[in-house]
C-alpha cells in the first residue's frame, strides 16, 4: 500500500494542474466565443490566436 504515498499526491497534483489550466483559459477569454472558435478552424487564413485583448 506504500505506493499510495506517491499516487495520491500525484493524482491531486494532476487535478490541481487541470484546475490551474482551466483558470488560465478562463482568464484569457477562451470561453467568450465557443461557436466562433469552432468555425474559425474551417477557414483557410491562418488564425489560431484568441483576440489580443479579451472583452
Amino acid at each position: 500500500m506504500n505506493v499510495l504515498i506517491f499516487l495520491i499526491p500525484v493524482s491531486l497534483g494532476l487535478g490541481a494542474l487541470g484546475l490551474g489550466a482551466f483558470m488560465w483559459t478562463l482568464r484569457h477569454g477562451q470561453y467568450d466565443d465557443p461557436e466562433g472558435n469552432g468555425a474559425r478552424i474551417l477557414r483557410k487564413d491562418f488564425d489560431d490566436a484568441p483576440p489580443d485583448d479579451p472583452t
Binding site: 487535478g15 482551466f22 470561453y31 466565443d33 466562433g36 474559425r40 472583452t55
Partner: protein
Amino acid sequence: MSLSEAHTGMACPGCIAAPASLSRAGRAAGSATHEVQLALPSVHCAGCISAVERGLLALPGISEARVNLTLKRVRIKHDGQQTVESLTAALRGLGYEALPLDMVALSGTANDAAGRDLLMRLGVAGFAMMNIMLLSVAVWSGAADATRDVFHLISGAIALPTVAFSGQPFFRNAWTALRSGRLAMDVPISLAILLATGLSLWETLHSGEHAYFDAAVMLTFFLLAGRYLDHRTRAVARSAAQELAALEVPRAIRLGADGEEIVDVSSLHLGDTVLLKPGGRVPVDGLILSGESEIDRSLLTGESLPVAVGPKAMLSAGEVNLTGPLLVEVTAAGKDTSLARMADLVAIAEEARSRYTSLADRAARAYAPAVHVFALAAFVAWMWQTGGDVRVAINIAAAVLIITCPCALGLAVPAVVTAASGRLFRRGVLIKSGTALERLAKVDTVVFDKTGTLTVGAPDLVDPMRHGAAALGVASALAAGSGHPLAKALATGGRSFAKDLPDPTVSDIREVPGYGIEGQLGETPVKLGRLAWVAPEFLAKEFFALSETATWLRIGDEEPLPFTFSDALRPGAETLVRQLMEQGVDVHLLSGDTAAAVTDTAERTGILTWQADVDPMQKAAFVRSLKAEGRHVLMVGDGLNDTAALTEADVSISPASALDAARVASDIVLMGKDLMAVSETLRIARKSTRRIQENFALAALYNVVAIPLAFMGLVTPLLAALAMSLSSITVTLNALRLR
C-alpha cells in the same frame, strides 16, 4: 453615433487612474483608436466570419475587426476615418445587416464579471468533485480501516475549501431569504450541503463508515451548472437587447443670443428655440415658428405616409423631420415630452406584469417546505425507532435531505430555457425575460401593429413602368438627391426595376420643403411632388383628386403623371398570419394609420379583424378587454403608440427596428427582418414548456423512488451519488431533445 462610439483610451480604467499617460497618448493624437461594436444578426458560419473580417479590413483606417459568432457581434478598431454609419453601410454592401451597439451600456456588461465568477466556482467544484470521486470509488470498492479513514480525510481536505468557495452563491441567497422570512429553494440546498459536509467531517474524525463529501461537492457542482446556464442565457439576451443604441437624439441645436449652439437635450428649457435639420429626429415637443417640411410620424402614430407641416403646427418628440429645416419653440422638454410620458406608462405596466409566477417558482414554493418536513420526519422517526441514537437519526435525516435536494429541479428549467433560447438566438430572436417562453406557450390571440411590424415601414413603388421608361427616368433623376421617403422609394425602385433606365440630365434641381422637387430637363421645367403644387389647375378634376398617396410628375405643361406607393409587407408576414390561423389562433390588426392603408394590409395578409385610426390608449384597452375575456394575448408592435399595449399584453414581441421604448417594453426582440421567426418562436416556446413539465415529472418520479429508500436508511453514499447524477443527466438530455 456619439453613443455607439467611444475612445478606447477613455474607457480604460487604467488611463483614468493615470492622467499622465493619458496626456501622452493625447499628444500622439494621429493614431488614436476608436472602438465600435456592431450587432450582426445574420452571421452564422466560418464563411461569414471571413467575409466580414476581410471586407472590413479592406476599408481604409481599420486596424482590427474581430467577429464574435457566439454573441453575433463584430468589434472594430479604427483611427477615426470611419463612422458607425459608414461601417453599417459597408457591411450591408457585404450582405450583412448591422445594428450599432451602445458602447456605454456595453462597457458595463462586457466583462460579464458575474458569469466568470460562477464559471470559476463551477470549475473548482468540478475538479474537486473528480478528485473526491477518485477516492470515493476506492472506498466503495472495499477500502477499509485506516485506508478508508485516510481517504475520507483527504476527501474532506478537498471538500471543505471547495464547499466554502463554490457554495457561496447558495449560502448568500439562502441567508437573504431567511433574513426576510422567506423559504427559498436555496435554503434546503444550503442546508443539505452544510449538513452533508459537517456530518461527514464528524463521521470521518470518528472513523465512521459513510462520508458524503462526494455528494456535497456533486450537489454544489450540478446546482452551479444550472445556475450558470441560467445566468448565461439571460446575460446574452439582455446585453444584446439593451445595448442596441438608443434611437432618441441626445443633442439638439439651440438658437441662443449668440447664434447656434449644440446642447444636450436635457438642458433645453420651455420657450427655447431649436433648429431642426432635415433627417433629424425631433428632440422635444414643440410649436413650429417658421419653415415648411414633412414629418414622419410612423413610430409614434403608425401613419405610414409623411405629413406636411408648416408654421403653428405642433411636433412631438420622436417624430422625424424629412425635407426642410424648421424653427421650433420648445413647449415641453425632457421628462414632460409625450415620449417620456409614454415611457412612464410602460414602467407602471411593467410592474404589473412582473407578478407572473414561473413554473420553476411554483415548483420551488411547494418543494422547499416539503424537503424540510421530510428530513425532520426522518430524524424524529429514527430517534424514536432507535431509542434516541442521535448519530443514526442525523445520518438518515442528512441522507433524506441530500436525496430530496433539487438537483434535477435546479437543472430542469435552466437546461430547457438555455437550449430553447440558444436555438432561437441562432434564428435572430432574443429572449429578454426568463418567463417569456412559458407565457408565449399559452398564447391564443395575436395582435399585430401595421406600420413597421407587418409592413417594412418604407414605401414601395407600385407598377414603376406604367408611364414608360422615359418618365420614370426623369422622376428618379429628380428624386435622387432627396431624403423624402417617397422620393427615395422612387429613386431606388426605378433603378432596381430597370437597370438600363434612361438617365436624363436634370439640372438646377431644387427641393421645396413640404411640396416637392423641381428642375430643368434641357429647356423644359420638370416638377415632382404634391399635385397642389405640381399642377394646381388639375386639382379640381375628379380623377386627379382621388389618389392622395401618389406623388406627381409633370414635364413641361403636359398632364401630370401619378406614381403610387404601397407599404411593402415584411417578408414572411402572409405565411405567418396563415400559419397562426391554421393553428386556431385569433389574429387582430390594430393601426393608427388610415382605413384605406389598413384595409390594404389586412387584405394582403389575410387578417379578418382589423381597426384603423386607433390611438395608443385604445390599443391598450383593446388588449385589456381581450385579456378580460380570459385570452392570452401576444402583442407584436414597434411604435411608441404600441408600447402601452405591448406592456399590457401577456407577452410581447418587437422588431429590432422598433423605437427604444417599444423594445424595452417587449419580452422578445426580433433581430432579423423575417416575421416567420415569430412562428418559430411560438413553436419552440410550446415545445420547451412541454419539456419543462416533463423534467418536473422526471424529477418527481425519481423522488418517489428515492425518498422511501432514504427514509428507510438504505441510502449509502454510493447510491446517493448514482441517483443524483442519473437524475441530473436525465433532465439535461431531455432538455437537449428540444429541436
